[in-house]
């Protein structure tokens, strides 16, 4: 789960990572109050969860109240990659002398937490990985969650030769690590990590991504979710035990298993159709899930056909068949259903559906072909 810069900055403040004075504002008045407290110049930054805000003109340094008001209102009216700007972070502009990069994240291949440090700050780390890979230093934790400063001295030493800066860097890193572990992050990033005019280290930006699988143990973080960036249908589906991602086509898909669901979307595309969604009903054959899946998919008025592709292992095909029949009694389905059921109890399932006047497929390719055909009517 992504959180906004201002929310990540609040976490930095909570953990004692130095940031410039400031706060988030929703109106120009609020912005003025913040600027009067921190003093000018201030930098104002659009709070959006998409990249490219700099290019879109969403970041500006302003020197006085008049400029602040004008620029605040301009940014408030921006549309950045389809998203409006609700909040703008207002903070004392830092006199940046040098920019670094410091982050804690997970290396999935190594299965370990890694600290990434670079003397190239202020650019996307992926860029540096392409242009100056030798400038990216990685320090693996080897499965240990220690904050012990002796362990992390080499990180600081790799970036700074000045002893005072090394100490300061180590201290900030310890705080970043503490935040990373206590809040179950998948990424905690300071980019750029800067030396200011007074020669002190501070975070000029804040980025935190939380591990979705750990949200259960962090209600305080779930509360930070910006619903504007979530699809309400996708969240509702998740609450009902379904995995659902909207796409742009008109062939609705209901499948059991994430890999098979991806494979089904791919097959629809390959055979000339356009999948409307990814949807995994999961392992259980609970008829409720089929009903909920159909309801959510049918909200999309572009849907021309619904393809139900089930390979029953633990999922019983007759449970799915009953789910479909129940759904048909409860909700109005005006589009054709193309049903493929193979695996556990497929005979029973076919019998049930045939008795209700419906046909089923055994072959995935045939079912997808039929669904694509129906979508072009």
């Amino acid at each position: 789960m992504k959180i906004h810069e201002y929310q990540a900055r609040n976490l930095f403040v909570e953990y004692g990572i130095p940031v410039a004075d400031g706060d988030v504002a929703q109106t120009a008045d609020e912005a003025l109050k913040i600027a009067r407290k921190s003093g000018f110049p201030v930098v104002i930054k659009a709070q959006v969860l998409v990249g490219g805000r700099g290019k879109a003109g969403g970041v500006k340094v302003v020197k006085d109240e008049a400029e602040l008001t004008a620029e605040f209102n301009r940014i408030k009216n921006l549309n950045i990659k389809g998203y409006t700007v609700e909040r703008i972070l207002v903070a004392k502009a830092i006199d940046i002398k040098k920019e670094y990069y410091l982050a804690v994240t997970i290396d999935n291949i190594k299965g370990d937490v890694v600290i990434i440090a670079s003397a190239e700050g202020g650019v996307e780390i992926e860029e540096t990985a392409k242009t100056h890979p030798d400038k990216i230093l990685k320090f693996y934790m080897q499965g240990v969650k220690t904050l012990d400063e002796g362990r992390w001295a080499p990180v600081a030493a790799s970036l700074f030769s000045d002893v005072r800066l090394q100490k300061s860097c180590t201290s900030i890193l310890q705080k970043l690590l503490k935040l990373f572990f206590e809040k179950d992050c998948s990424l905690a990033e300071i980019n750029p990590f800067v030396i200011n005019g007074e020669g002190n280290l501070m975070a000029a930006d804040a980025k935190v991504i939380i591990d979705d699988n750990a949200l259960d143990r962090h209600p305080e973080l779930v509360a930070l979710r910006d619903m504007k960036y979530e699809d309400a249908d996708e969240l509702e589906a998740k609450a009902k035990g379904l995995s659902f991602v909207k796409l742009e086509g008109n062939v609705g898909c209901i499948v059991n298993g994430a890999g098979l669901a991806m494979g089904t979307m791919d097959a629809v595309n390959l055979l000339g159709g356009r999948p409307a969604n990814f949807l995994d009903v999961g392992g259980s054959s609970n008829p409720e899930k089929v009903l909920n899946a159909l309801k959510i998919i049918l909200r999309n008025k572009d849907i021309k056909v619904i393809l139900i592709n089930i390979f029953g292992g633990i999922t019983r095909c007759d449970d799915i068949a009953n789910g479909i029949l129940t759904a048909l009694k409860q909700i109005e389905i005006k589009v054709p259903l193309v049903i493929r059921l193979t695996g556990t109890n497929e005979k029973e399932a076919k019998a049930l559906l045939t008795a209700a006047g419906m046909t089923t497929f055994t072959s995935m390719r045939q079912a997808v072909t039929e669904a694509v055909k129906a979508s072009k009517n």
Binding site: G143, V144, D184, A214, V245, A258, L260, A261, G263
Partner: protein, 290 residues
């Protein structure tokens, strides 16, 4: 022949008294797997489907001499279940559970690194099966057929789809291994490819991958250097949008080379036959085995 498990493997079921644990323990036993015990702390002395329940992995191992464990416990207890197996030197650990926080797996990995005698498969996986001999997991036994095609996959039901296509074309399987859909897993493509390459009973390999992560890329490199047997691959997620988690925690495109197309390209460059649809696998195998 087969890899990792066969008719002699003795398995204990952690979480055996739970709904999933008891159901699958019964299914595995009916398939012919030697399910020798189960573990649920506090329920030692009970029986599930004639299988004795113990209070701890240590007790179960002492009493049964088991050499494998399968985990059907909720996400918040799964890490401890794996750590308990590792502490008791269980050689093969299969974790079915989905939803583990990634840092939990970092801890498990650390424990595994210190115990080279322990292998973990999963988490978030369907398990593995050597058809006709044993299954440790949730896959439907009846779609499998014994033979000499090795199958390794990150997926669950997509693997069944692939296996089904092999079976109806009379291409039986030596062993089918489900690696799991999480970003950090105990066993990777490279590990299983090596085992299949070395298994005299496996003459060709089917590899089912998906978007996200760098596993298929590492596999492509390994295949180029060390695999002489034919490899046919299907990669799911060509139509997945970037940045979105597609069900599996590990199935998220975060960079150019974790897309399906990038993986397919790398595999092709290593001599792997990459097909577009699961039902094309049998034909591709037949051609490569001529």
């Amino acid at each position: 022949m087969s890899i990792l498990i066969d008719q002699n493997t003795k398995v204990i079921v952690q979480g055996i008294t739970g709904r999933d644990g008891s159901f699958h323990a019964k299914q595995m036993k009916e398939y012919g797997t030697k399910v020798v015990g189960g573990v649920t702390p506090g329920k030692g002395g009970q029986e599930v489907e004639g299988i004795p329940v113990f209070n701890s992995v240590k007790e179960a191992k002492d009493k049964t001499g088991c050499d494998a464990a399968v985990i059907y416990v909720p996400a918040k207890f799964a890490k401890d279940a794996m750590l308990e197996d590792i502490a008791n030197d269980i050689p093969l650990i299969v974790c079915i559970t989905e939803g583990l926080p990634v840092v939990d797996m970092v801890e498990v990995k650390k424990a595994l690194n210190a115990k080279p005698g322990c292998r973990l498969i999963g988490p978030n996986c369907p398990g593995l099966i050597s058809p006709g001999k044993a299954k440790i997991g949730i896959m439907p036994g009846h779609i499998h057929k014994a033979g000499d095609i090795g199958v390794v996959s990150r997926s669950g039901t997509l693997t069944y789809e692939v296996v089904y296509n092999l079976t109806i074309n009379d291409m039986g399987q030596s062993t089918c291994v489900g690696l799991g859909g999480d970003p950090i897993i105990g066993t990777r493509f490279v590990d299983v490819l090596k085992m299949f390459q070395e298994d005299p009973g496996t003459k060709a390999i089917v590899m089912v991958g998906e978007i996200g992560g760098g596993d298929e890329q590492l596999a492509a490199d390994f295949i180029k250097k060390h695999v002489t047997k034919p490899v046919v691959s299907f990669i799911a997620g060509r139509t997945a949008p970037a940045g979105k988690r597609m069900g599996h925690a590990g199935a998220i495109i975060s960079s150019g080379d974790s897309t399906a197309e990038a993986k397919m390209q790398m595999l092709r460059e290593s001599g792997v036959i990459v097909i577009d649809f699961p039902d094309e696998i049998p034909q591709a195998l037949a051609s490569s085995l001529k």
